[in-house]
């Protein structure tokens, strides 16, 4: 390779001289523009792909919309043998399991991120961070099997009876402890989305300029106060991004959820009862669906999942925006 190298600057010199005038900037302009075009092309592929997918799903699901109309979204029954299709039980199952997962994962992930970015010495933070990253690389089927054979029996024998005994008065914790259900799915999803939220959160916190911390500490703040008052408010937007990444993982997860949620398309107010999610029912039924209305209904569920994801993302952004608009005093209190 070495003999080639000296020729490189030479060719560049030649091209630069070709126009006859000495305009060294021009090449940079062209390269810049090309670079911008290239990145724009890459960026637009994701938009185009998303649009193409939505379009394809809309086309494939047309027979279902024609048959059920918008009532499909509010329909409570899913019965392929009777050609009855409604999405509501799956929407509720998806939102409930994902929100439960976020609720459980975010505090822990935030703790991990703060420890890794702010508190732990480098000797500890690096291997610990790598371990957390490793957690993100475990395939979902492994989480699913672990959920099936370890988490579910533990929930059935230990956790759920205790929940029923103490909080059974609330409709949220009513029912027979069977292990399988929304609670199991939420826990598995929480563990699955935790590493990505924690790792991104750590990087976001690290990106806050050191001067903010130093300033806070110089003013006499404790470690905790410095994090709370100087670092976290700066990193809020990034942390929300991290949480949304976790939400995305939870919303779209299929395999692990299908193994522990109990797969019942039924509306129930309890975390203990089995449910079903949009992604898991599509994965469960698509391969064997031959009836055209059944296929259309499954495609329609895909479209609904798009919509649910979009709405949840919007809602989260709106929430953050609202919190950001509060006066300083209110936020601190």
């Amino acid at each position: 390779m070495q003999p080639l190298e000296p020729s490189k600057p030479m060719t560049r010199l030649v091209t630069r001289r070709r126009p006859g005038r000495d305009r060294p900037r021009r090449e940079g302009d062209v390269a810049d523009r090309r670079f911008r075009l290239l990145t724009a092309a890459f960026a637009s592929t994701s938009v185009v792909l998303l649009g193409a997918m939505a379009l394809q799903l809309a086309r494939a699901s047309k027979p279902a919309w024609r048959r059920f109309g918008l009532g499909f979204i509010g329909g409570q029954h899913w019965d392929p043998s009777r050609e009855l299709y409604g999405a509501l039980p799956f929407i509720v199952g998806t939102v409930a399991s994902s929100l439960l997962a976020l609720l459980l994962a975010i505090p822990v992930a935030l703790g991990v991120a703060i420890l890794l970015a702010e508190l732990a010495p480098g000797r500890l933070a690096r291997p610990l961070g790598q371990l957390v990253e490793l957690l993100a690389a475990i395939p979902s089927v492994v989480y699913g099997l672990w959920g099936l054979f370890v988490l579910v029996p533990w929930l059935r024998v230990t956790v759920q009876p205790a929940l029923v005994e103490t909080l059974g008065a609330l409709p949220l914790f009513r029912g027979t402890p069977r292990g399988f259900g929304v609670l199991a799915a939420g826990l598995v999803l929480a563990i699955m989305s935790l590493p990505s939220v924690a790792v991104v959160g750590r990087d976001v916190l690290r990106a806050v300029p050191a001067s903010h911390r130093e300033g806070a500490l110089a003013l006499g703040a404790t470690r905790w106060e410095a994090v709370r008052l100087a670092v976290l408010p700066q990193a809020r937007a990034g942390l929300v991004g991290a949480a949304l990444l976790g939400l995305g993982r939870a919303l779209g997860e299929t395999m692990a959820v299908a193994m522990v949620i109990g797969n019942r398309p039924e509306l129930s107010g309890s975390l203990l009862s089995p449910a079903s999610t949009l992604a898991s029912v599509v994965a469960n039924e698509f391969a064997e669906a031959t009836d055209s209305l059944h296929l259309a209904a499954l495609s329609a569920l895909g479209l609904v999942l798009f919509g649910v994801t979009l709405l949840l993302n919007l809602a989260a952004r709106l929430l953050v925006w609202q919190v950001g608009r509060l006066p300083d005093g209110a936020r601190r209190a």
Binding site: M1, P3, L4, H77, W78, D79, P80, S81, R82, L145, L148, F149, V152, P153, R156, T176, R178, G179, F180, M255, A258, M259, G262, N263, R264, P265, P274, S276, S280, V281, A283, N284, E285, F286, A287, E288, A289, T290, H294
Partner: protein
């Protein structure tokens, strides 16, 4: 190193790489791409272990022929043969009249082997349960809720049954197993027919859904008092207990290769010409009532005579010599009467109007 030498090295590596994956000497002595004929099929997952065994054994006999089977599910098999993207489809469930109407040409159903659905349960004392059709329907409808129910106890005197709630487990993914099981319940139970019906995906009134045989088996294994249905081969591999079922003749029959074959043999007189026959609740003293055919789907009129002949030859081999490989994998062999009917169907395969099989 110059760039040309890098390219040369790369080419060398490519050539060497191409040679390596061949099947050793056999691949090098003949040029495989010229005279190898590949039959491509896709469909049911249930017969996949048997079909891969067949692929290996058939290639030993005819090294120039290859069988490439993808287990993508019965529904996928039907979709692919309809679109003509494969040479044969495979399905655990016969195609419906509506599905057959949408195909570009007449499709033949060729039964290749027999399977059974067993009712498995998790009882710590693990007695050999006996169940009647009414009890099975009652349990899966959610009308019988406890193992101490007198209707179960009456049938199973001498077996200690716990005072435990019953947890029903069913296949949440669309499957031929569910189709066979619900077809049976629809046939033997009027309440089931009215409230649930039959199909690859149905709405079960009670219970938990598991994904795949392994999902249901996992639920049964981890939940004391659970009951569910899985394929016989899977239940045997997973070491699950399974029940004897009362058949049409009033006898309690445990699922076994013999009792499954007996179900097909008992049907002989009633076997329809297109072989789309249901074996559930079959007559015959020794018949296990939850048995089923699994099918290969082929077009009666083949486009390509050479390929069509290879396909016909392979299917002929499969329903004759191929049957001996089934038992080790828990597939019951086709009874002689069925093989005779299959022979007639294979003789009706054509390419350009000419029969593909010589007599």
């Amino acid at each position: 190193m110059t760039s040309s030498s890098i390219i040369a090295l790369g080419l060398l590596a490519l050539v060497a790489g191409c040679q390596q994956p061949g099947e050793g000497d056999a691949a090098r002595s003949r040029s495989p791409s010229l005279d190898t004929l590949t039959l491509r099929g896709a469909g049911a997952t249930f017969p996949y272990p048997l079909y891969s065994k067949w692929a290996a054994e058939y290639q030993k006999l005819y090294p120039q022929r290859r069988l490439d089977y993808q287990s993508i599910g019965s529904g996928g098999g039907i979709r692919q043969i309809r679109e003509r993207t494969v040479d044969f489809g495979a399905s655990d469930v016969a195609m419906t009249d509506a599905e057959l109407a949408g195909t570009p040409g007449p499709i033949l159903h060729i039964p290749t082997t027999l399977g059974a659905v067993v009712i498995s349960y998790h009882l710590d004392a693990a007695p050999r349960l006996k169940l009647t059709p009414e009890l099975v329907a009652g349990i899966f409808l959610g009308e019988i809720l406890s193992w101490s129910d007198p209707r179960i106890a009456e049938l199973n005197r001498g077996s200690p049954l716990p005072d435990q709630p019953i947890t029903v487990s069913y296949r949440a993914d669309g499957s031929g197993t569910t189709a066979v099981f619900t077809e049976y319940l629809t046939k033997v139970s009027e309440p089931w027919r009215a409230r649930v019906g039959a199909g690859k995906s149905v709405r079960f009134p009670v219970g938990l859904g598991g994904k795949g045989n392994e999902g249901v088996a996992g639920q049964i294994k981890t939940t004391p008092g659970a009951i569910g249905y899985v394929e016989l081969a899977y239940a045997k591999q997973a070491g699950l207990a399974y029940a004897s079922l009362r058949n049409q003749a009033g006898r309690f029959i445990a699922p076994s290769l013999e009792s499954i074959t007996a179900a097909a043999a008992g049907l002989t007189g009633a076997l329809p010409a297109d072989l789309r026959a249901s074996l559930v609740d079959a007559p015959g003293d020794a018949a296990y009532p939850l048995s089923a055919f699994t099918y290969v789907l082929v077009y009666q009129a083949q486009d390509d005579a050479v390929k069509g002949r290879a396909l016909a030859d392979f299917l002929w081999w499969a329903v004759h010599d191929g049957q001996t490989f089934g038992a080790a994998l828990h597939y019951a062999p086709l009874p002689h009467e069925v093989v005779v009917s299959v022979e007639a169907r294979l003789h009706s395969l054509r390419a350009g109007g000419q029969p593909l099989l010589q007599d």
